[in-house]
Structure formats: structure tokens, C-alpha cells
């Protein structure tokens, strides 16, 4: 089991009674039994095991049907009843996530609720749901700045809401990069945001990239052995292409590359064994056609980083074929 030490005894309790409880719950779904008794059985199982996806489907069906029913039968109390319905659904996922914070199906149920709210309820009801959802994500990321669900959920929520990517979003990730240069997730999101924000303003984009090169410089001098900023650096030097704008729209000229080469050399004086700096320097020298010096760097990398010897060997062979 993930992270379960072999020295920790599994729960003594026989799980037979939970297995029959789950059977009961699944059977009630099959019978389309939405009585309050059925509900409490289903919810008990979901709290114990939020990965029971079929039981979330039970809730999904219930939510969709109830919205329609109330709309037709009791329009005057629609807002009140539906708000209550959503609160209890959100609460259930929260109880499940409290015990199992990584439960995919519980996160997905929240996404489902937001989608349904956005498509079938007035903004007076759903605005608050979205606001709270983004607050929860920010809180998760405060506790753990690489939290996978925190970032992914935040993105999905923004998409459903139709939030345009703005400067604020850029500021959100910039703050997180400054708080921790090793926050790979934040660098990743920066690479996603920039092409969307500046894709159609090449001049502004170039200016931002110049600033980013300074930011990267700070990061690699602070954490030379951390790969986060290095992957981002490589992306900048390739002209910051993205899957949305696959052709590089930046001027990556020799002057810029030469400047970055001298930054790398500066760092290598302080950290002569920094493998990422050596590799990045190799890529630049290769581009400048200084093949002899480039090959020497690969030989150095093969000694420094023997795990990836085969990768460096591949680069050597590629270079020899070129020359």
C-alpha cells in the first residue's frame, strides 16, 4: 500500500461488516431507493471509502433529478431547497476528504456539483460556491505548495466558472515562486499563463521574458541543484513555445543567448559541479557550433551524473553525427 509501512499492523477489525454495508448501499442504488435510510447507508460507505465511485453516481443522479423536480413542483422555494441540497452534498465530500484527502472521486464530485450549478442554477446561488472553492484551493496550497489536487482542482474550477486568465493569476504564481524557488508546480503554471496572457502582444511578452530571465537567475543562484527553475530556463531559451502557440514567438537571438551563457559561467565559478548549469551550457555551446567544448561538458556530466550516462552519450552521438 502507498506509504503503509510493513511494520504497522493493519486494522484488527474484520472488514466483513463494511463489505456487507457496501453491498447494501450498492443494492439500494440498483433499486433506485432514495429514501433517507438508503441515504444514510450510502453516505456511511462513502465516508469510509470515498473511492466507491458508483455511490457518488447515486448522489449525482439524485442531485440532477431533484433540481428538475423542485423546479417543476415547488418553484417558490427553489432557491432555498437547492442551496440546502448543495450544502449537504459539499459537506459529504468534505467529510470524505477529511479522512482521505487524495480521494479522486470525492474531488470529482465537487467538480460535478459546480458544473451542474453553473448550468442549471442562477449566479445568485452558485457565485458563492465558486468563491469558496477557490479559497479551499488556496488554503490547501498554503499547507503544501505542490499539492496536486490543490492545483488541478483550482484549474478545473476556473475553467467551469469561465474565469479568464488575468494578471492576478500571474501574480498568484509569482508570489508562490518567490516564496519557494523549488516550487515546480508554480513554474509550470507560469509557463501555462504567459502564452495566454501575452500571446498576441509580442513586445510585452519579450519584456516579461527578460524579467523572467532575471527571476530564473535568482532562483538558480539560490537553489542550483533544484530542477524547477532549470526546466523553466530551458523553456525560455527555446523561445517559450506552448502547445497553444507552438511556434516560438520570442526573439531568441545570439545576443540574448550569449548573455545567458555568461550567467551560467558566473554560476559555474561558484558551483563548478552544478550538473544543470553544465547541461544548459552544453545546449548553448552546441547551438553556437562550439562542438569541441560542448563535448567536453558531456564527458564531465557523465562522471558527475552517472545515472543518466546514456542520455549524455546520446547527446554526444547526436553531436558527432552533426559534425
Amino acid at each position: 500500500m502507498h506509504g503503509v509501512s510493513s511494520y504497522v499492523e493493519p486494522p484488527e477489525e474484520d472488514s466483513t461488516k463494511f463489505i456487507s454495508l457496501a453491498k447494501d448501499a450498492l443494492n439500494r442504488w440498483k433499486q433506485q431507493d432514495f429514501s433517507s435510510e438508503a441515504f444514510s447507508v450510502v453516505n456511511r460507505v462513502l465516508e469510509l471509502n470515498p473511492d466507491e465511485y458508483t455511490l457518488w453516481n447515486y448522489h449525482k443522479r439524485f442531485v440532477v433529478d431533484k433540481i428538475e423536480r423542485v423546479r417543476q413542483e415547488d418553484p417558490s422555494s427553489f432557491q432555498e431547497v437547492i442551496e440546502q441540497l448543495f450544502e449537504s452534498e459539499f459537506n459529504l465530500t468534505q467529510r470524505a476528504l477529511y479522512r482521505h484527502p487524495k480521494a479522486y472521486s470525492a474531488w470529482q464530485h465537487r467538480i460535478f456539483l459546480l458544473k451542474v450549478a453553473k448550468s442549471s442554477l442562477p449566479p445568485t446561488i452558485y457565485d458563492n460556491f465558486f468563491k469558496r472553492e477557490l479559497e479551499i484551493c488556496a488554503k490547501l496550497l498554503d499547507l503544501d505548495d505542490r499539492n496536486f489536487h490543490g492545483w488541478a482542482h483550482r484549474m478545473r474550477v476556473g475553467e467551469i466558472k469561465g474565469i479568464q486568465i488575468t494578471r492576478e493569476e500571474l501574480d498568484f504564481v509569482t508570489d508562490r515562486i518567490y516564496a519557494n524557488f523549488s516550487n515546480y508546480s508554480a513554474w509550470h503554471h507560469r509557463s501555462r499563463i504567459l502564452p495566454v496572457l501575452f500571446g498576441d502582444q509580442p513586445e510585452e511578452y519579450n519584456r516579461v521574458i527578460q524579467e523572467d530571465l532575471e527571476l530564473v537567475k535568482q532562483a538558480i543562484f539560490t537553489e542550483p541543484e533544484d530542477q524547477s527553475a532549470w526546466f523553466y530556463f530551458g523553456w525560455l531559451l527555446r523561445g517559450a513555445p506552448s502547445s497553444h502557440a507552438p511556434v516560438s514567438i520570442l526573439d531568441v537571438d545570439n545576443e540574448m543567448l550569449k548573455k545567458e551563457l555568461s550567467t551560467l559561467e558566473e554560476l559555474l565559478v561558484l558551483e563548478p559541479k552544478c550538473k544543470y548549469a553544465l547541461l544548459m551550457k552544453f545546449h548553448l555551446l552546441y547551438q553556437f557550433g562550439e562542438l569541441g567544448n560542448a563535448e567536453a561538458l558531456l564527458t564531465q556530466l557523465q562522471i558527475l551524473d552517472p545515472l543518466r550516462n546514456g542520455y549524455y552519450q546520446h547527446l554526444k552521438e547526436k553531436m558527432r553525427q552533426k559534425s
Partner: protein
């Protein structure tokens, strides 16, 4: 000296045959909803160990067929709703037993095809969740059934390419951070559709190679700890890219072997942790790709023994 040592394959075989019958454990309760994937992990592992015939084929096949719904899709167990991942597991299990000819393939094909959305992506089931994992499940399922023509492949590939990130990795949806599991799925789709030339394979390969840590194990994202499951996801991706030699295989073998339970069989996620079927499969599959002589060879994209797939 044999690098694949100690490797008590007979203990692993006994573990795999035993563990499915442990119906009173907490794990049994927690994994009941995806028993069909559990069956796929256990059966493929046993097949890699040349011991599939020790299982009760007819009982397993009838149970799998009992998981199928009117729509053609399979649920994770007899009382579970159908979804794409379980459907793939069912098809893989049936392929292991060479029983695909005895079922109504067209029904499965139409279930899978109906889950494709207009942007080319796939939903995991009728409730609408989208993830690049589902594209892999759909493409692989139809590749095994020989019916890729039933979906819009070009659109599916376009969606997968939109999940490509700045680092050469892939995420679960466009814009989501790269993760080894998703890289496996997306590289798998590109491999199965002859589209690998659409990406910068050197960059993706470097990101994958950077997953190897000093202890020899592989991680799922930068700055995370090693885990045996990535011995499959990262390694098979490298194999599909023809870059298996970009990492140190002997160190990886050492890491996987150190996660074995040498007394009771089975492989855990990390040295000292408790073994489970999931990690036993990923460990054995990794060792198979690395050429372990006691194991059959596995196909990196189909995730089935080579001999199961007719080429």
C-alpha cells in the same frame, strides 16, 4: 553476478494466488469497486511469471462477463457502474485468456466510441469527467479489439497534444502539471497512433530520465519520493520512446528488488512498506522491461505480455 537477485519468483506467484482470496481484509473492502483492475494486475503478473494456468480461468471469465452492462461497458465489480478504465481492464483480462473472440466486441466498441467528445477527448463514464488517462484507455481498448477506426483518432491525438507542457511532460487536462502517470498515458496514445513524431522526444525523454533518484528508484514528479509504480510508468514511456538506456537500469533493478517482501512474496511501493497487488504488478512489469530472465517480456504500450498481442 546475476543482477536480478534475489528474486523469489515462486513466492511472488504464491502471493498473487493467495491475495485475491483474502476477502476479509480491509484492503479487500477498499478495493472492491475496482476489483476488475485488481484482477488485471494479478493475472498479468501471473502470466509474466508463466503461471496463468494456475488460475481458475472459467470462473474468472464468467465473473468478468457478469461485470458487463447493457451499454457494453464494464463496471469495476459485479455491482458497480460501467466506466472506461474498468472496461479496459476487462478487455485486457479477456485478451490474456485469449477469450476476445467469444464476446460481443461491437458492443464494447460502441460503448467506448460514445464516450468521445467533440474536442476529441474522452469522458471516463456517462457523468462527464475528462482526463488524458481516458484517452489512453479508449485508444488501447480499441487497439486490442482492432477497431481504432470506430473513433476520431486525429481529434483524440490533438487533445493529447494539447496536454503537452513546457517541460515535455503531459498533464491530465490541458494546462495541468506533468505527471509520470499521465506521461505514460499520453506517450502511449501517441505510440499506438504512430504520432510520436509530433513531440520533441528528446525533451520528454530528458524529463523522464530526471525522474531517477540516487536510490535508483523513479518518481512521479520533480522533488517527490521514488515509488515502484513509476518503475512501470516512467520506464515504459522511455521504452516507447526507445530511450530505455537513458537511465541506470541496474540501479533501478536494485531499487525494485529492495521493495520485495522476501518472506511472503509481493512487492511494495517503497522499501519496508507493505506489499500489494498494484505495486507487485508494476514492479514485475518494470523488471520484465529490464530483461529479467524469469519473466515473459511485456509490451510497454499494451501493458500485456508480448505473446498475447498478435502483430
Amino acid at each position: 553476478m546475476d543482477v536480478f537477485s534475489p528474486f523469489p519468483w515462486d513466492l511472488h506467484q504464491q502471493y498473487l494466488l493467495r491475495v485475491q482470496n483474502d476477502t476479509k481484509s480491509w484492503e479487500y473492502f477498499l478495493t472492491a469497486h475496482k476489483r476488475i483492475s485488481g484482477a488485471y494486475w494479478a493475472l498479468t503478473s501471473l502470466d509474466l511469471l508463466n503461471s496463468l494456468e494456475k488460475t481458475d480461468e472459467s470462473a474468472i471469465v464468467s465473473w468478468i462477463l457478469a461485470c458487463q452492462h447493457e451499454s457494453g461497458g464494464f463496471g469495476g465489480n459485479v455491482d458497480q457502474d460501467p466506466n472506461l478504465l474498468s472496461t479496459l481492464s476487462a478487455v485486457q483480462c479477456l485478451a490474456l485468456f485469449h477469450r476476445l473472440e467469444t464476446i460481443d466486441k461491437e458492443k464494447i466498441v460502441s460503448y467506448v466510441a460514445n464516450l468521445q467528445l467533440s474536442d476529441g477527448s474522452f469522458m471516463g463514464d456517462e457523468w462527464g469527467e475528462v482526463d488524458s488517462r481516458f484517452t489512453y484507455a479508449a485508444i488501447l481498448c480499441l487497439s486490442i479489439l482492432g477497431r481504432l477506426d470506430a473513433i476520431r483518432v486525429t481529434d483524440a491525438v490533438r487533445f493529447v497534444l494539447s496536454c503537452l507542457n513546457f517541460d515535455g511532460g503531459f498533464g491530465c487536462i490541458p494546462g495541468a502539471e506533468s505527471h509520470s502517470g499521465q506521461v505514460f498515458c499520453c506517450v502511449g496514445v501517441l505510440y499506438l497512433t504512430d504520432s510520436l513524431h509530433r513531440i520533441d522526444q528528446e525533451l520528454t525523454g530528458w524529463w523522464l530520465a530526471e525522474r531517477q533518484l540516487k536510490n535508483g528508484g523513479l518518481n512521479g514528479r520533480p522533488d517527490k519520493k521514488a515509488d515502484v509504480c513509476y518503475s512501470w510508468w516512467v520506464l515504459s514511456s522511455l521504452a516507447m520512446l526507445n530511450k530505455l538506456d537513458w537511465i541506470d537500469s541496474s540501479k533501478l533493478i536494485e531499487f525494485i528488488l529492495s521493495c520485495q517482501d522476501l518472506e511472503n512474496g509481493g512487492i511494495a511501493d517503497y522499501p519496508g512498506d507493505r506489499a500489494d497487488v498494484f505495486h507487485t504488478f508494476f514492479g514485475l512489469a518494470g523488471l520484465s522491461l529490464l530483461g529479467c530472465p524469469q519473466l515473459k517480456r511485456i509490451h510497454p504500450a499494451y501493458a500485456l505480455p508480448l505473446e498475447v498481442i498478435n502483430f
